[in-house]
C-alpha cells in the first residue's frame, strides 16, 4: 500500500520530463505545477472545478488541476500547455482569432487537443459537450468552436 505523510520529495512526469518536487499530501496539482515548476500556463480561476482555466492532460485526458491532489498524479503523464509544441490547435486558435484576453486559452487548447486526439471524428454534440467544460469570459465561444472544427475537418 502506497502512503504519503508530511512533506516528501516525489517525482512527476510533466511534459515528458521527470521533475523532483516537494509536496504534502494535501497539495493540489495546480499549485505544484505553478509554484514548484514555474509552469504557469495552468491558470487559477475559480479553483472549484467550474471554469477550466487550470485544465491539464493526465495520460491524455483533460483534468482540472485545481481538483486533483498532486499525489494522485504520481506515475502518470502530465501535459501542460507548455508541453504542446506546434500542434494544429495552436495554429487554429491564431488563424480563427479564438482568444481575446487569453486567460482561458491554455485550458481550451488542452481540451481541444485532447478531443482531436481521442475522438478525431466527433459529431457536433460531442464537440459541444467537451467545450462546455471551459468558460471564456470574453465570450470567444464561436471562434473557439471554429478553431476546433478547423482542425477536425483537416482545414488546418
Amino acid at each position: 500500500m502506497y502512503s504519503l505523510k508530511g512533506k516528501n520529495i516525489v517525482q512527476l512526469n510533466v511534459n515528458k520530463e521527470i521533475h523532483d518536487v516537494v509536496i504534502r499530501p494535501s497539495d493540489v496539482l495546480l499549485n505544484t505545477l505553478r509554484d514548484q515548476l514555474g509552469l504557469t500556463g495552468a491558470k487559477p480561476g475559480c479553483e472549484n472545478g467550474d471554469c477550466g482555466a487550470c485544465t491539464v492532460l493526465i495520460d491524455g485526458w483533460p483534468v482540472k488541476s485545481c481538483l486533483m491532489l498532486t499525489v494522485e498524479a504520481l506515475g502518470k503523464k502530465i501535459t501542460t500547455v507548455e508541453g504542446l509544441k506546434n500542434v494544429p490547435i495552436q495554429k487554429a486558435f491564431i488563424e480563427k482569432f479564438a482568444f481575446q484576453c487569453g486567460y482561458c486559452t491554455s485550458g481550451f487548447l488542452l481540451v481541444c487537443h485532447a478531443l482531436a486526439t481521442i475522438h478525431p471524428y466527433p459529431p457536433d454534440i460531442v464537440i459541444d459537450e467537451w467545450l462546455q467544460s471551459n468558460i471564456c469570459r470574453c465570450t470567444s465561444y464561436e471562434e473557439i468552436g471554429n478553431a476546433v472544427r478547423a482542425i477536425l475537418s483537416g482545414e488546418i
Binding site: M1, Y2, S3, P25, S26, V28, T55, M68, W130, S133
Partner: protein, 277 residues
C-alpha cells in the same frame, strides 16, 4: 490550496482499505474514503470539511470493474462517470452520468463518489433505484451484497469503515425503453430543478426523481398513479403532483409551485412519449 494537512493512503486490496481506515479512525484521524476527490477537495479548500487522512480506493481492482458477469452488469465504485459514458453499456445510466457536472469533471468524478455525495442530487442512484440494483459493500466483516433499498434511503447509509465496492444490475433492464429528463433553471450544466428518469418494463412504467425533493427517490405509490390506465395522462400527473406536494423543494433553483408546474408537464410528456413503446 487546502489549508490543513492530512495523510494519504492508497491500498491495493479491499481488506487493506478497511483495515487502514479503522486504524486511522482509532487513532482519531477522522479518515475519509477518497474516489475522484472533487467534492472533498472543494469542500476542504473552503474549510467546510476537514479530515486527517484519506484512503484512496482507486487502486483496488474490485472497485474498478466495468463489464458483464453472467447476466449482470458490474459497475465498480471507482470508475469515473466518463468510463460509464464511453463504455455505454446501460444507455440510461450513460445519459445520467453525461449530464452531471461538465465533461472534464466527468473524467474525475467517480460513480461511488456521486452516490455517496453530500450534495443532495446523487443522480446516478436513479438508474440503480429503477433496476433494483444490488450493492456490494466492504466492511470489517468482509463483503456484503445488499439490495439498494436496504442501504440507500435518501442517501447512502453505511456503517463506519464501510465503503461501496460495486453495483450490479440485471441485464434485462439495459435494453428496456427509458426516458431521462433533466430540467435546469438556466444553464445546461447545473444542478437539476427536476431530473425524472424511468424505464418501461412489461408495460409498466417505473419512475424516479432527483432535485424535486431534498433527496433522490423512487416510490411505489407514485408509480401506481403513473400507470393507472383509468385516468387521462393529465389526471395522473395532477394526482402525482398532489401526492408529492409535501416533499417538493422550494429553493434558489425554483419555488415549489414552479417545480409542481414543471413536474406536471414532464409527466404528461413522458406518458405521451412512452405510450407506443
Amino acid at each position: 490550496m487546502i489549508s490543513f494537512d492530512f495523510e494519504y493512503y492508497r491500498p491495493d486490496t479491499l481488506k487493506e482499505a478497511v483495515d487502514i481506515f479503522l486504524k486511522l479512525d482509532k487513532e482519531g484521524k477522522s479518515p475519509v474514503y477518497y474516489g475522484g476527490g472533487t467534492e472533498l477537495i472543494s469542500m476542504a479548500r473552503v474549510g467546510s470539511q476537514s479530515f486527517g487522512a484519506v484512503v484512496d480506493i482507486k487502486n483496488i481492482p474490485e472497485c474498478k470493474v466495468l463489464g458483464f458477469n453472467a447476466d449482470t452488469l458490474c459497475l465498480g465504485s471507482a470508475i469515473t462517470l466518463s468510463d460509464i459514458t464511453e463504455a455505454n453499456y446501460f444507455p440510461l445510466l450513460s445519459k445520467t452520468a453525461g449530464r452531471i457536472a461538465d465533461h472534464t469533471m466527468q473524467g474525475k468524478i467517480t460513480f461511488g463518489g456521486n452516490l455517496a455525495s453530500t450534495i443532495i442530487y446523487r443522480e446516478t442512484v436513479l438508474p440503480l433505484l429503477l433496476t433494483n440494483a444490488r450493492l456490494t459493500v466492504a466492511g470489517k466483516n468482509g463483503l456484503a451484497e445488499v439490495e439498494i433499498g436496504q442501504v440507500f434511503k435518501e442517501r447512502l447509509r453505511l456503517q463506519k469503515g464501510e465503503f461501496l465496492v460495486k453495483a450490479t444490475i440485471d441485464k434485462k433492464f439495459l435494453i428496456a425503453p427509458y426516458f431521462h429528463v433533466k430540467k435546469t433553471k438556466n444553464e445546461k450544466i447545473d444542478y437539476p430543478l427536476i431530473t425524472a428518469e424511468g424505464l418501461k418494463l412489461d408495460g409498466y412504467v417505473r419512475i424516479a426523481f432527483s432535485g424535486l425533493a431534498s433527496y433522490p427517490f423512487r416510490e411505489a405509490n407514485i408509480e401506481n398513479m403513473l400507470n393507472d390506465s383509468s385516468l387521462e395522462f393529465s389526471q395522473r400527473a395532477d394526482k402525482i403532483v398532489q401526492a408529492l406536494s409535501g416533499v417538493i423543494t422550494s429553493d434558489l433553483y425554483g419555488s415549489a409551485e414552479y417545480r409542481k408546474y414543471v413536474l406536471k408537464n414532464t409527466i404528461v410528456n413522458i406518458l405521451e412519449t412512452l405510450k407506443d413503446q
